[in-house]
């Protein structure tokens, strides 16, 4: 008999979805402090005028491209954390992503991998990456499967025959035995799901190809994920990537379509889940933000603090930030938004609702400063 959470849902039915914005997403573009003078000075050409932003709280507005997320904020299903990030100041995508997915220095594996191990959960579809690769955050997980696409799996007698043969050959393989078992199990379950197809519910409308390849691909992955969550195949966590935020040059053309993809995709996902949103947490994160001042090529270089979002799963919502403005004496290094909140404090708050164990084992060495997100 699984333990019940406050919401009355068995722990094992709760799903944690992380959306990683790879490339260093500009928190000041996603959630611009439109009423902050320093922001308007630093972003004379790239800045969002206050009249165009959607009202959040304090100096903050939501980028117009994220309009689809605004109702979720107003209804208290969306929490926004600003000036959040890691203590890594390398400003290197790979070092910062690696550190964030590891969940701190001096820890083995990824933070989701450690969490799954600590929960002692296993099974082929416990942890999935909706893209073709398993991210580093799932490193060390008892199982983790890259889905690629639900519909790509074939079934039929030749496939069954092959799977039966491979089960025996992989059984004793120290390195590939477990991934093979996961793959076989996944093939089986996905075959069943494939027969039923992916049908969004509650009137959810995912981005179509007309809204751009980025939005379509992101939406398609989320639609598949919603189908998996509804099917209750034992999913505990899922990782979704939305890449390409590295806006050194002509930022507008890079960031605007991705913001629209993010907002339309997540809004459709939340709608699609319906009541299941109460047992599904979505966390949006990026390895770092961008420099406060725009560069000569209408872009922004690697910075420090960015934005995290928490959608659904019982979050109290709201805007969370100890904002200190953007004056020169506040900025860090070459002119970056300092990291005021540690990303692990956001993750920890969410993990607590997913029946977490001792957070110190998930984020070793981190001194918690709890955030009510």
């Amino acid at each position: 008999m699984p333990a019940l959470t406050l919401a009355g849902v068995p722990d094992d039915d709760r799903v944690l979805v992380t959306v990683f914005l790879r490339g260093g997403a500009d928190g000041l573009a996603l959630v611009p402090p439109v009423h902050d003078d320093g922001y308007r000075r630093a972003r004379p050409r790239l800045g969002v005028p206050p009249s165009q932003a959607l009202r959040l709280d304090g100096p903050f507005g939501l980028a117009p491209e994220l309009a689809e997320l605004h109702p979720w904020f107003l209804e208290g299903h969306l929490a926004v954390v600003h000036a959040v990030g890691s203590d890594d100041d390398s400003r290197s995508h790979f070092v910062a992503q690696e550190l964030m997915e590891r969940g701190g220095t001096g820890a083995a594996g990824g933070w989701l991998g450690r969490w799954l191990r600590a929960r002692a959960t296993s099974g082929a579809l416990t942890a999935v990456a909706t893209g073709p690769e398993v991210p580093d955050s799932l490193r060390g997980a008892p199982s983790a499967t890259a889905l690629g696409g639900l519909t790509e799996l074939s079934t039929g007698p030749a496939w069954s025959d092959l799977c039966a043969s491979l089960a025996g050959l992989y059984a004793g393989d120290a390195q590939l035995g477990r991934p093979a078992r996961d793959a076989l199990d996944a093939a089986d379950r996905m075959g069943k799901l494939h027969a039923d197809g992916v049908h969004p519910e509650h009137g959810a409308r995912y981005p179509s190809a007309a809204e751009g390849d980025v939005a379509e691909a992101f939406g398609r992955q989320l639609a598949q994920l919603a189908a998996l969550i509804r099917a209750r195949v034992g999913l505990v966590t899922a990782c979704v990537d939305l890449a390409g935020w590295d806006s050194h040059f002509a930022q507008e053309t890079i960031v605007a379509p991705r913001m629209r993809a993010l907002a339309c995709g997540l809004s459709a996902f939340a709608t699609d889940l319906g009541p299941a949103l109460a047992r599904t947490s979505v966390v949006v994160m990026s390895e770092f933000g961008r420099r406060v001042g725009e560069n000569a090529s209408l872009g922004t270089d690697h910075g420090r603090g960015s934005v995290m979002l928490v959608l659904g799963g019982g979050t109290p919502g709201g805007m969370h930030c100890r904002w200190r403005g953007l004056d020169d004496d506040v900025l860090e290094g070459p002119g970056d938004l300092p990291v005021v909140h540690d990303y692990r404090d956001v993750l920890e708050a969410v993990l607590r609702r997913h029946g977490t164990i001792d957070p110190r084992s998930i984020f070793p060495g981190h001194v918690p400063a709890p955030l009510a997100v």
Binding site: G23, L162, A183, F249
Partner: protein, 484 residues
């Protein structure tokens, strides 16, 4: 062209089948109709190890050819490596099939005449055709290695066109040459100038901030490595050195041309990695920067580590890395000398190293085609399979390139199995193979198993093969075939 297994069985060897298939596809490797030798030992020998690790697997008949290069197998392997380090022309059959990919031999400016997706598709197909079919296997392996080391995602900006030129004029041209030349060619490659924003790196006025993107990756990924001991100030100074280099975009006359604009260059004094680059250097700042970065001891170590990871194992022993780093440094970054040193290490030659490296998806596809002697056009179904396995050629999104360790790929088994089944069952259009003929030439199912696995099959493998309706599919999907 889609051939069912039944059609293949019926048509095997008939002129009708061959003529139809040969119209568009090429055989992945020379495959005479005669029988070929297969391994007899339960252990992988040195010849098979080298063909698997320094190439994309043994084509039918290839191990015999290598074995006959000298009386002793270690000498034969040395000869083969010597041969491979001095590549000549491609065989006519491969040249013909590459010749059908119209866009690839065009000068930079002319590449833009093609649709970007066509150039990328042809470039990707060419990579597969060469890996599977070229007799110069080591060069293809090094091209694969450098394509990740100097990763460019063709989906950015004008890279879809320009990566084709980068592949030809930078990566292939210098794959077995001098590292310094390779880095310089890459720094001035129009595709790289697009991919890492070098083309927008300018400082016309004191208030303009250089774009640090390329400078950072040059130090972090291309030369010194993330733990190479450089600081943020080195990145910023390197970026200053590189200001002013740009590439003409497609809306301009002479598109794709790389130029240096002194007016956009920060010509002040720079201090990079402990060295001083005097003011007034102009375009020469690039070479001054590359001199320092490529000769830095951390660069030798970084390259040695990556090469050993590719050719020896995911966690290569320090002794091998040391030896390779010394060879790199002493030869002034000569790739041939460095590789020779690597292939001489005990770690590389040890029987314990054999079949311990998980094939990356590209290696898996290329080796499946090569070892089976498949006819292929390197086309869409194979590229789709690579996409589902997370390794679409020239589309790795981030500058560090596709990972080279097993754990990154262990989640791809399902898609590997699907590819194996597709190839064995003849359901991948554009690729076909004569399964009964292959079995016959290998001397039966167990002979085919020995050929594909590099050793005679184990008891458990023999039992599974005896029961299976598709032994070739099982072999290509087996754990042993996932490794090289």
């Amino acid at each position: 062209m889609l051939l069912s297994r039944r059609q293949l069985v019926v048509g095997a060897g008939s002129t009708v089948t061959l003529a139809v298939v040969a119209g568009r596809a090429t055989r992945a490797a020379a495959a005479p109709g005669a029988t070929f030798a297969v391994p007899r030992s339960p252990e992988v020998d040195l010849v098979d190890h080298v063909l698997a690790r320094c190439g994309f697997g043994a084509a039918p008949g290839e191990r015999e050819r290598v074995r006959n290069l000298a009386a002793r197998s270690d000498e034969a392997v040395d000869r083969w490596i010597d041969e491979q380090l001095a590549p000549g022309d491609e065989q006519p059959e491969l040249r013909r099939s590459l010749g059908r990919l119209d866009s690839l031999e065009q000068p930079v400016g002319e590449l833009y005449e093609w649709k970007p997706e066509v150039v990328l598709r042809e470039l990707s197909s060419a990579a597969l055709l060469r890996a599977a079919g070229s007799r110069w296997q080591l060069r293809e392996v090094m091209v694969d290695f450098w394509s990740d080391h100097f990763n460019i995602d063709a989906s950015k900006g004008e890279c879809a066109w320009l990566k084709a030129a980068d592949d030809r004029d930078v990566i292939r041209r210098h794959a077995l040459g001098r590292f310094r030349d390779l880095v310089r060619a890459s720094a001035l490659s129009p595709a790289m100038l697009w991919y890492l924003d070098g083309r927008t790196n300018r400082r016309a006025t004191a208030s303009e901030r250089p774009n640090e993107n390329y400078a950072r990756e040059l130090l972090e990924l291309h030369t010194l490595g993330a733990d190479g001991g450089y600081a943020q100030t080195d990145v910023m100074e390197a970026a200053r050195c590189l200001t002013g280099w740009t590439v003409r975009d497609r809306h301009r006359f002479r598109k794709g041309r790389v130029e240096f604009d002194p007016a956009l260059h920060d010509d002040g004094e720079k201090h990079v990695l402990g060295g001083r680059i005097p003011a007034g250097g102009g375009a020469r700042d690039l070479d001054a920067l590359l001199d320092v970065a490529t000769a830095h001891p951390a660069t030798a170590r970084h390259l040695a580590t990556k090469l050993c990871r590719r050719f020896i194992g995911d966690e290569p022993p320090a002794s091998a890395v040391d030896a390779v780093a010394v060879a790199f440094r002493n030869s002034g970054g000569d790739v041939r000398t460095t590789l020779r040193a690597l292939f001489r290490t005990d770690s590389f030659r040890s029987p314990a190293a054999r079949r311990t490296k998980m094939k990356r998806p590209f290696q898996l596809v290329a080796s499946a085609l090569r070892t089976t002697g498949a006819r292929t056009d390197g086309g869409a179904p194979l590229l789709a399979a690579l996409r589902s396995m997370g390794q679409s050629p020239f589309q790795y999104p981030t500058p560090e390139g596709a990972p080279d360790v097993a754990r990154a790929w262990s989640g791809t088994l399902l898609w590997r199995w699907r590819l194996a089944m597709g190839l064995a069952e003849g359901t991948l259009s554009g690729s076909s193979l004569d399964v009964p003929g292959l079995v016959c030439r290998a001397g039966g199912i167990e002979g085919l198993a020995a050929h594909l696995l590099g050793r005679s099959p184990h008891l458990a493998e023999r039992a599974v093969l005896a029961r299976s309706a598709s032994p070739l599919g099982v072999l290509l999907a087996s754990p042993a075939f996932q490794r090289c």
